[in-house]
């Protein structure tokens, strides 16, 4: 069964219980005592020690200030850049459809870091390996929900069968629209090169304000053209070297 997260930011209260539950369950180290000076959110972004991150988005709605919260997480792409890039086979797809880094295999090459279109994977400096959300693979194997979804007090984070969640997101969207919440959108990049994600979101306003890119790109879309260039460059080098020796 392909499982997923549906994060409905319209009911998120910004309590960050998901961040805490994630850290507790997975034993993630603290991410520094840093005051960002940008908003009340001092976590800033997902990273090696932040696998759930509640964004505090301050924007304008109908001429008045609006404050929205949204819990971000690894998107677990259907065509995952990190999984393509991993040279050791450490990154695998689990039976639940999630993307999982096997910590006993990763050798910290850092290639997945530059292959993630969502800026999720990061190498932990004092450890040397890359880390990101495991989709609570251990909990799912034991029939439990991920820690974040379990801790969420408002059911903003919903976990379940991905197809069910997609339907639920559309129902919720229709409900909100009917109530006059016209700026609600579902973020589910199925028609991009990442081929859909296992984490979908319902947000108000522009997804860009939540650092959810409208066109996330799987790096492997350039694999053929880049290798074709490498082949052409190699051939050219071989020909000029041969000519140089032959003609002189």
């Amino acid at each position: 069964m392909a499982t997923g997260f549906f994060t409905d930011s319209t009911v998120c209260i910004g309590c960050k219980a998901c961040e805490v539950a994630c850290k507790e369950w997975n034993g993630i180290p603290h991410d520094g005592f840093v005051w960002r000076g940008m908003s009340y959110d001092n976590t800033a972004c997902l990273g090696h020690s932040t696998w759930r991150h509640v964004k505090f988005v301050e924007h304008e709605r109908d001429g008045a200030p609006a404050w929205d919260f949204s819990s971000d997480v690894c998107k677990h792409c259907e065509h995952a850049g990190c999984l393509d890039a991993c040279p050791t086979g450490s990154i695998v797809r689990t039976e639940f459809g999630g993307v999982y880094i096997q910590p006993d295999v990763c050798n910290g090459c850092g290639y997945c870091v530059v292959a993630c279109p969502f800026g999720v994977v990061e190498r932990r400096p004092d450890d040397g390996r890359a880390f990101k959300c495991t989709f609570c693979y251990d909990r799912q194997k034991a029939g439990l929900q991920p820690a974040c979804a379990t801790a969420c007090p408002t059911e903003s984070i919903q976990f379940g069968d991905l197809d069910d969640l997609r339907a639920r997101a559309q129902t919720r969207l229709a409900m909100l629209r009917a109530r006059g919440v016209t700026d609600a959108v579902v973020y589910d990049p199925q028609h991009t090169s990442v081929g859909g994600t296992h984490a979908i979101f319902l947000v108000r306003g522009r997804p860009d304000d939540y650092n959810l890119p409208s066109n996330p790109e799987r790096p492997a879309v350039r694999l053929v053209e880049a290798w074709r260039s490498a082949a052409a460059a190699s051939l050219a080098m071989l020909v000029v070297t041969t000519l140089a020796f032959w003609l002189t």
Partner: protein, 555 residues
């Protein structure tokens, strides 16, 4: 744009070993190609032997560089755990794993040796050919490696990078062989081909107007890639065409090609980092520059030099205008213990008197606190009257000393004034500061540029109170590109294991028609053993007005 200008992507974690490997591996790869082709074409045996040695040396250094860059070097063998065509790094690791033994075989069993056994010569030929084939991959795949990522500047050049790195490796390999004494016409011809390629590719980059290519043209990464391309492109090209028989010219051309090849690889990695800082969510999906409809402002010069000059001019004018201002001040100090628990809090209310004294070139701030934690200050002096008398400096020093008792925490601090960082932009001081463009954001028709600065170790705004040794500051300045107006400063110093960070935000004031500091945020992180604590202070300044001083200013 995006989420509080947080970069959407993560920057590459690779350190110097990776660009160094791009160079060493590329030169080794071309060395194997030259050795194999030279041997088959009946070239002089000495050039074949030297090219093969070059390949062997590179083949032995390359794995060491790659392994030391790993986060877990002891797990380097996991690179050969699987073979994945989807991962250029996997393909590269396997290529190197084949290349190294092949080139060693060609060195050990010299295929051109007349007195070797048939089996040995066959082994040598096989090694030589396999090394040449994998060498071609080594010289070019590093372009694929970084092109097939999400880093915008690399991705935008995925087609171009394999040619670029290949030509750069060819030029550098020819350079090494020439420096070893092989100044043959064949080498000159290969050097010309590489230089022509690199010149054309630089020209292509220069006319490339895609926003993703900006890090190749501006900032330190732009400088590096440009320098690398000039050294390995036009410079050797001219020297090789004009003075092909002149040993000195050939030597300079060779050195240029080698140096350029190294600088270019480091430049491309730096460009990747710069590219991430620029890649906000919205930028990624726009193939064309963001255009703002409506009024077309004159286009500001976005080079770091021009921005610093315009900010310095703005500050000079600003200091003229910013005289004797009074504002209401609300100041909160919070002390946190090492585990992040709030242990003490202090609220202060009063007035801030702020001015620039042109004679001294100094900012003077006097805080007249009326209320501490809701209670009136008992022995409050009549600061207004003192200031009216005109001795601004004397009053400032005296009040500052008295106010020190309101500070919570164990840290002495006397440089915490909101306008202090503006002094960095004094014309003379600017010379000693390194500025680097961090990001450019265009919103509502205005372009704001954030510059990262770092003071030199010789000259600094702040000195140690006891030893008087300089304490160099670093931080960020956000300025309006068109006017040079400083809109936000972030000033950071590290001294005695204490990190101090001061952030000032400026906003326009309707009445005064002047941008004034409205928010001043201080953070002191004391990391000394046994004294670990964090102090956070936030001051808000409102209701700015001019303060009339009748007396003269005494020194």
């Amino acid at each position: 744009m995006g989420y509080y200008n947080q970069p959407l992507l993560k920057p590459p974690v690779w350190t110097w070993e990776v660009p160094a490997y791009f160079f060493v591996g590329g030169v080794a790869g071309v060395g194997a190609v030259i050795a194999a082709v030279g041997a088959l074409a009946g070239a002089d045996a000495s050039i074949v032997r030297d090219a093969r040695w070059m390949a062997v040396v590179g083949a032995l250094i390359s794995p060491a560089l790659l392994i030391s860059d790993l986060g877990r070097p002891d797990r380097f063998l996991n690179m050969l755990r699987v073979f994945k065509t989807k991962s250029p790094m996997s393909v590269g690791a396997w290529t190197l794993a084949v290349f190294t033994p092949a080139v060693l075989a060609a060195l050990i069993w010299d295929p051109m040796s007349a007195d070797a056994s048939v089996a040995a010569r066959l082994a040598g030929h096989a090694g030589s050919l396999v090394a040449a084939a994998t060498g071609l991959v080594l010289a070019t795949y590093t372009g694929v490696l970084i092109g097939v990522t999400v880093i915008p500047v690399w991705a935008a050049h995925a087609r171009h990078l394999p040619f670029h790195f290949g030509a750069s490796s060819l030029g550098a390999a020819v350079g090494v062989l020439e420096l070893l004494g092989h100044r043959t016409p064949a080498m000159n011809a290969l050097g010309i081909v590489a230089a022509v390629g690199l010149t054309l590719m630089r020209a292509h980059v220069e006319v490339d107007r895609r926003p993703a290519s900006a890090p190749l043209k501006s900032g330190s990464s732009g400088g590096m890639t440009r320098l690398g391309d000039v050294l390995s492109g036009p410079l050797p090209l001219v020297l090789r065409l004009v003075w092909p028989g002149e040993p000195a010219a050939r030597a300079v051309a060779a050195l240029g090609a080698i140096a350029g090849s190294i600088v270019t690889r480091f430049g491309w990695i730096a460009a990747g980092r710069a590219s991430v800082a620029l890649a906000l969510a919205a930028l990624l999906l726009l193939p064309a520059p963001v255009l703002v409809e409506g009024r077309q402002d004159p286009k500001p010069d976005l080079s770091t030099r021009a921005l610093v000059a315009s900010a310095a001019k703005y500050v000079a004018d600003y200091q003229e205008e910013f005289k004797f201002l009074l504002a209401d001040e609300e100041y909160v100090q919070r002390l946190y213990s090492s585990n992040g628990r709030l242990t003490e809090e202090r609220h202060l209310k009063g007035e801030l008197f702020l001015t620039f004294l042109p004679g001294d070139g100094e900012w003077i701030a006097v805080h007249d606190f009326k209320e501490v934690d809701g209670k009136p200050v008992p022995d409050r002096e009549d600061v207004r009257a003192l200031l009216q008398k005109g001795d601004v400096r004397g009053t400032a020093a005296r009040i500052a000393e008295k106010n020190a008792r309101f500070n919570i925490g164990r840290l002495g601090r006397n440089f915490n004034e909101p306008t202090l960082p503006l002094l960095l932009l004094h014309r003379k001081r600017v010379e000693d500061i390194d500025f680097d463009r961090e990001r450019v954001v265009t919103q509502d028709g205005r372009t704001r540029v954030t510059l990262r600065f770092k003071e030199s170790d010789r000259q600094s705004l702040i000195r140690n109170a006891i030893t008087t040794s300089p304490i160099s500051a670093k931080g960020l300045l956000t300025i309006d590109a068109l006017t040079g107006r400083v809109e936000r400063t972030e000033f950071e110093i590290d001294v005695n294991q204490t990190n101090s960070r001061l952030v000032t935000e400026y906003k326009p004031d309707e009445k005064l028609k002047l941008w004034v500091p409205v928010l001043f945020h201080e953070r002191y992180h004391d990391a000394r053993e046994r004294e670990r604590q964090v102090i956070q202070c936030e001051a808000r300044y409102t209701n700015y007005r001019r303060f009339e001083v009748t007396g003269r200013i005494k020194k």
